[in-house]
Each structure stands twice: as structure tokens, then as C-alpha cells.
Amino acid sequence: MAPYYESKDLAKFPDMGKNQPHLWEKFLAWYTEATAVEGALTRREKSLVGLAVAHTVQCPYCIDAYTTQCLETGANLDQMTEAIHVASAVRGGASLVHGVQCRNIVEKLSM
């Protein structure tokens, strides 16, 4: 069976505007400004945030796109690796902090 993810499919992303162009245009305007236009954050900082989130949502298209965007905004592998660690640590921490719920329930159920 063909794999679900093909890197060449990233170029087909604009096809998502074919049947609902107004929704695609709204998304694209928002997405472009949020991720690629300098604001309170620099373009490099936005790229690193995007890379971190890409790993959290485990989207291979996003990882490809934001890895390239990080390089093209002058980020280096030390910074990119650290950003991925931040995302992974928050994600790990999010699991771990739910242990409090487990402990609360144990406490409630226990004599």
C-alpha cells in the first residue's frame, strides 16, 4: 500500500482552496501573517515556535516546512534542537502534571 505521507504532497496544500476558496483565502491570510511576517516576534522566533509546534502535532509536512523556514531565517541546529526539546518537555510535563489527578482520585478512593 502507498504510504499516507508523501513529501511531494506538501505542494498540493493549495488544493484545499479548490472547493471553498473563501475559507482558504481567510486561512492563508491569517496563517501567513501569524507565521511569516515580523511582528512582536522576529521571523526567526516565529520559525522556531512553528518548528516546536510541528513536532508536538507530529506533522511531517510542518516539520519539513518549518525546518526549512528556520534555516532560511538564519537559525542553527542548536537553536532548532533546543526548540524541539522545549516542545517535547512541555508535552511530557503535560502528561506528568495529570498525575496529580490520579493522585487526587487515589486519595479520594482510599480509606
Partner: protein, 328 residues
């Protein structure tokens, strides 16, 4: 359109751009292919074993051209490492005596490595540059060792910093000295360079805080898909992807400022080209125009049609790319 046959001239026509020469402000002379380094991305395929070198007669002829055409205000020396040419000092001193701006494409490490052919020390170079008030333009792909050495060879980063320190000590890169030390950034791989202003600020901050080093400007250059870099792209099966990226990032404003409109490139054998990249492809200036330094004719060269190819998308992508950095 297949990126393999990416048609630059068709793109210019679609954009209604007519890129004719506007001046010959710069004579960029490639003195030969001998270099102390063998960088992975080098479009000249230069290295320590290359023997091609400009003759003394050709150097004299270039000086004659500068003498005759005052409109050519800049002599831009490149290679290889131009400092390794035995006529380098004479060439520089004569051009400076005529009052020309002289830029040297200086790889920094050449100061510290012995001459690959003669073994002579090159440590006199920084002082010679200062005496002649040369503008020094030096490649430094990144402000960290790993990225720099990956592209330019092991140990290059440390040597480059030492060489920069010697230039700084003589006043290069120091505000108010008038001694220009400009760096060149090019990506360490198959991607476009960052915005020039942003990466220049980062380089300045990092080199000063980590190493106490100064420079004036950072020129951002896109890797050209020819020769050694093209071979890398093809081996990594990235050629089509990279060309697609360059074509997709075509910027008409950057195109207006391409360097071939204001320069002539001279090969080590005296042949004339529109730019250093066409030179490496052996695409001499177009039919009908004089094509060597021996029949150099300023007016006819100003009338020439610049020769374009798919690699020209490298100079027009994004903010543009030239030997002086971004063009848009």
C-alpha cells in the same frame, strides 16, 4: 515548466523586464583557480591543485583597460585565492595608484596557510591590505564552527577568526577607520539565505560577544546551482527541488539590480563574461561583442545582450543575490 529547463529569459519577458547593461562600474578579475581551500559549494571548483593562472601580460592589459576607461571605478579581484597569484601585489598597487577602489575576495585562511605551491608565508597580507587600503570581502558561512567547517573544511572557522582578529587589530572593521571588512554569508545547504539585515545583526552580535570581532557589512549570497554545488544537489536528489524554490522566489525588483548589468567579469585567460557564474560555465559575452581583454571595447560591451541561463534564478530569488549581497 520543468525546473531543469527553467527559462529565465521567458520569465523576464513575462515580467516585461529588459535587463540591459547600465554601466561597467566594476571589472571583476579572476586571477586563477589556485586556492588553499576546496570548499564544497565553490562554483569555481578552485583548490590547491588547480594550476590555471592569469599571465603577467593579461594583468598588464587589465591595468591598461583601467587606465583607459575611467568609468570603471572598481577593480574586484577574485579567484581561487587571488593573493596566491605572483602578480597580485603589483596588480593591486598599480590599480590603487590610479585611484581605483580595489576589492579583494579574501578567504581569511590564506593569511595563515603557507602558499600551496611555494610554501612561502602569506602572513604579510593584512598589513599589505592596510597599506593599500583594500576593501576586504571575506566568506564566513556562519558564526559557529560546525556550520563553517562543514562547508569550507576542518579548522577553517578557527583560522578565519584568527585572521579576522589580525585585520581588526589593524583597524579593519573598526568604525571610523575607513578600512572595510565585509563578510559574505551563503547557506550551508540547499535553501535560501535569510534576510540580509537580520542575519547581519545576528552575526555582529555573536562575533562580538563570543569572540570580540568586528566587521562592517554582511553580504548575503544565494548558492548558485552550477559546478560543485550542482553536483551536491544532484547527488542528494535535490536539484529539482532547489531550482523550483529559486524559480518560485523570482523577484522582479531583485532582477532589476542584478550585478551583470554593471560589471564585466574577466577570466584568467583574458576572456570576458557577464558574470563570474557565466565564466565558470564558459559562456563568454555574446556574439558580436568583443570577448577578450585584448579587444576590449567599452561602448560595444555596453550594447551587448547579457547571456542568461537557468542559474540566473539564483540572483533573482527573494531579496536577490550578487557579489555585493542582496539587490532588492
Amino acid at each position: 515548466m520543468s525546473t531543469r529547463e527553467a527559462d529565465f529569459e521567458r520569465t523576464l519577458a513575462e515580467q516585461k523586464l529588459d535587463l540591459r547593461p547600465v554601466s561597467i562600474e566594476t571589472l571583476q578579475v579572476n586571477t586563477g583557480k589556485l586556492c588553499n581551500q576546496a570548499c564544497k559549494h565553490c562554483h569555481v571548483d578552485a583548490g590547491p591543485r588547480r594550476t590555471e593562472m592569469m599571465s603577467p601580460e593579461a594583468i598588464e592589459r587589465c591595468l591598461d583597460i583601467l587606465r583607459r576607461y575611467r568609468q570603471i571605478s572598481i577593480l574586484d579581484l577574485t579567484g581561487g585565492a587571488p593573493e596566491l597569484h605572483p602578480g597580485f601585489r603589483h596588480f593591486v598597487m598599480e590599480a590603487r595608484a590610479m585611484g581605483r577602489r580595489v576589492m579583494v575576495r579574501h578567504n581569511l585562511t590564506v593569511t595563515l596557510d603557507p602558499h600551496p605551491l611555494t610554501g612561502e608565508s602569506m602572513e604579510y597580507l593584512p598589513e599589505f591590505f592596510r597599506e593599500q587600503r583594500l576593501e576586504v570581502v571575506s566568506s564566513l558561512p556562519y558564526f559557529q564552527e560546525r556550520e563553517t567547517d562543514a562547508q569550507r573544511g576542518q579548522g577553517v572557522f578557527a583560522k578565519s577568526l584568527e585572521s579576522m582578529r589580525r585585520l581588526n587589530d589593524l583597524g579593519y572593521g573598526q568604525e571610523g577607520s575607513g578600512l572595510l571588512l565585509n563578510l559574505v554569508y551563503n547557506p550551508v545547504g540547499a535553501y535560501l539565505p535569510p534576510a540580509q539585515g537580520e542575519i547581519e545583526a545576528e552575526f555582529k552580535r555573536q562575533l562580538k560577544s563570543r569572540h570580540g570581532l568586528l566587521f562592517n557589512h554582511l553580504f548575503v549570497i544565494t548558492n548558485m546551482p552550477i559546478n560543485r554545488f550542482r553536483h551536491f544537489l544532484e547527488r542528494a536528489e535535490l536539484y529539482d527541488q532547489y531550482m523550483g524554490k529559486l524559480v518560485g522566489a523570482f523577484n522582479p525588483v531583485a532582477a532589476e539590480g542584478v550585478m551583470c548589468r554593471s560589471m564585466i567579469s574577466v577570466g584568467y585567460d583574458g576572456t570576458l563574461y557577464d558574470c563570474d557564474f557565466n565564466q565558470m560555465l564558459s559562456w563568454r559575452v555574446n556574439h558580436g561583442a568583443p570577448h577578450t581583454i585584448w579587444d576590449f571595447d567599452f561602448d560595444r560591451l555596453m550594447d551587448r545582450q547579457i547571456i542568461f541561463g537557468s542559474h540566473c534564478f539564483g540572483c533573482t530569488a527573494g531579496a536577490g543575490s550578487s557579489c555585493g549581497g542582496a539587490t532588492a
